[in-house]
Symmetry: C2
DNA sequence: CTGTTAGCGCTTTCAT
DNA sequence: ATGAAAGCGCTAACAG
């Protein structure tokens, strides 16, 4: 029961008894296009009759714009990424864009990028893992989060004040845990030094087993303060403390933008909070703006953060049986 | 630092000092295309030099094939769907296809489908929720799981034997819980009748609250045997039994293809198991085969299932702290 | 072995 | 108000 070939403008035009360029005008400039009511109606009918659906490829070829955004991401088995993708899908479709997803690990990022470029994407969102490839060959805007992203746009979190609140009154040895190249590392270090802490940053490997091993070694040094970036590493640290370091009770802070069950853990002293939803929304919004403004200059945007002490009223919103990106903004 | 316009075949041809159709030949028929070694080398160099990347839109327009598959899915916030998408992404990219995802709820499925058709997808995977729209207007193969899918291809689970094992020796009132239109409903009913059970099927709403309400009503009737389709509903039933029906201990079976923590619950009597991974793999494979064979006739495929009694050695593989699609096949 | 040509479906510019 | 023509980048059929 399927059509052999697709319905084209010409088919519609023939059915409506007009020239096919008129149909194109009707579709693209509907109210403004000046044509007789008669024609307008005939075209509309023909379109509905035939269930005409314009070819995106032809439009892309002609317009040089695909209305598609590429997303480079690691495994969607990771709840955080799945939620980010989900939200991005919603945001972008509301703006009239489709999302083309390529999965990649740190090694295959370049290859995946090639695929996106080949597919004529108008912009790229890089969600990792690993670092984004060099920009030279990328003919469209790209936005990168939580990375040193020199030539690209980025959405960042303004951490300064909340870190100051978190570090207030602390002393001794402190460590910050990140993935490679995290753009947040710098702010954490500055804050550590401002408060006279003996501060050190660590980059963790993505791989679970290597990460576990790295975390063990870090815990062995018994830092008084541990600052953890990300939800998953936080859970790992809590598990390690339970299994291998029962008598060790450091102050734990995490920088997070999602809800979860682990926040009920009494060993967490507080959270550097930012809205996960806002982060994704801003990312999509910045990228689309950049595409549509045709300004290729990288854009930097910051979203606010807030320190939430364990047990405070705001802290409760972080606790949920299910993983979610946080939505609350201050 | 970005290029103003994309590099085309002609750019490469000019750089290599040959006609652009030769470059096309080189790219598409590399080893077989007969041309001088000299030319071959010059073209290869030019391609690398310019970092040429063929335009997918132009190819799609020309070839009538986009090497893209559309996926219609509900929210990726649902772990099951996220895992399905993740696996599909891997499977399809290995076959040279990209995946274009459109999120939809039951109402917007038609609209979402239009978008995919407009984007010239070569095939569609319908993951729900809700029912797939009528086929009339879909110009490409489509595959649907767990639904009455009359004119479409489907991958189904061969349930007969495992249901017989599960029902063996049972008697009394039994209920089966599904989502609308589940294609599995029929097999469950047949099995129920074969074993002389007083069997009834129920269709549950997707929405959490309405579902909870429906489940409560079903439990009020105190069926001796409860057969649950799907992971999430199973968890809901267990929670309800704990909270509202403490003295009620029905025999619970679930039909599942994922791992989770809830299997440790002693109230589960056994699982109608099938491999979630196999299901997705077959789905992708059937669809791609159909696309490439250009056979438009719907294809039906079955994968095996097995009854796994709670506590048996196989049962252990279902228990995992993290949600995963099951991979084991028998 | 290499080059010419047509055309996929669409939008835009420029006639009529 | 409507139509004709060009061309986006590519491939395949056909000449040279």
């Amino acid at each position: 029961m399927q059509r052999k070939t697709r319905i084209t403008l010409k088919d519609v035009a023939k059915a409506a008894g007009v020239n096919f360029t008129l149909v194109s005008k009707y579709i693209n400039h509907s109210p403004q296009a000046r044509m007789s009511e008669e024609t307008r109606k005939r075209i509309q009918n023909a379109i509905e009759e035939l269930d005409y659906c314009p070819s995106a490829s032809a439009r892309t070829l002609r317009n040089g714009k695909s209305k598609t955004i590429g997303l480079l991401s690691g495994d969607l088995t990771n709840a955080y990424r799945a939620h980010v993708v989900n939200l991005a899908l919603h945001e972008l479709s509301a703006r009239g864009y489709q999302l083309l997803i390529t999965l990649s690990d740190a090694d295959s990022a370049n290859e995946a990028m090639q695929i996106l470029v080949g597919r004529d994407v108008d912009g790229i969102i890089f969600v990792g893992p690993g670092d984004p490839p060099l920009s030279a060959k990328i003919p469209c805007p790209m936005i990168v989060n939580d990375r040193h992203s020199q030539p690209y746009s980025e959405v960042n979190v303004d951490l300064r004040n909340s870190l100051d609140e978190a570090f207030d009154g602390l002393s001794g040895k402190a460590v910050g845990l990140f993935f490679d190249n995290s753009i947040w590392k710098g702010e954490f270090e500055l804050a550590g030094h401002r408060h006279g802490l003996e501060y050190e940053s660590f980059f963790l490997p993505f791989d679970y087993d290597s990460r576990l091993c790295a975390l063990k070694n870090i815990l062995k040094a018994r830092p008084e303060v541990i600052l953890i970036n990300g939800w998953h590493t936080t859970v790992m640290i809590l598990e390690l403390l339970t299994s291998d370091f029962r008598n060790f009770t450091p102050k734990i802070f995490c920088h997070a933008n999602c809800t979860g069950e682990f926040y009920t853990d009494r060993r967490i002293s507080g959270v550097i909070y930012s809205s996960g939803e806002l982060m994704v929304r801003e990312t999509c919004s910045v990228l689309v703006d950049q595409i549509e403004a045709l300004s290729r200059a990288p854009v930097k945007r910051q979203i606010p953060s807030k320190f939430i002490k364990a047990g405070s009223p705001d802290y409760r919103m972080l606790i949920s049986k299910h993983f979610r990106l946080t939505s609350h903004t201050f």
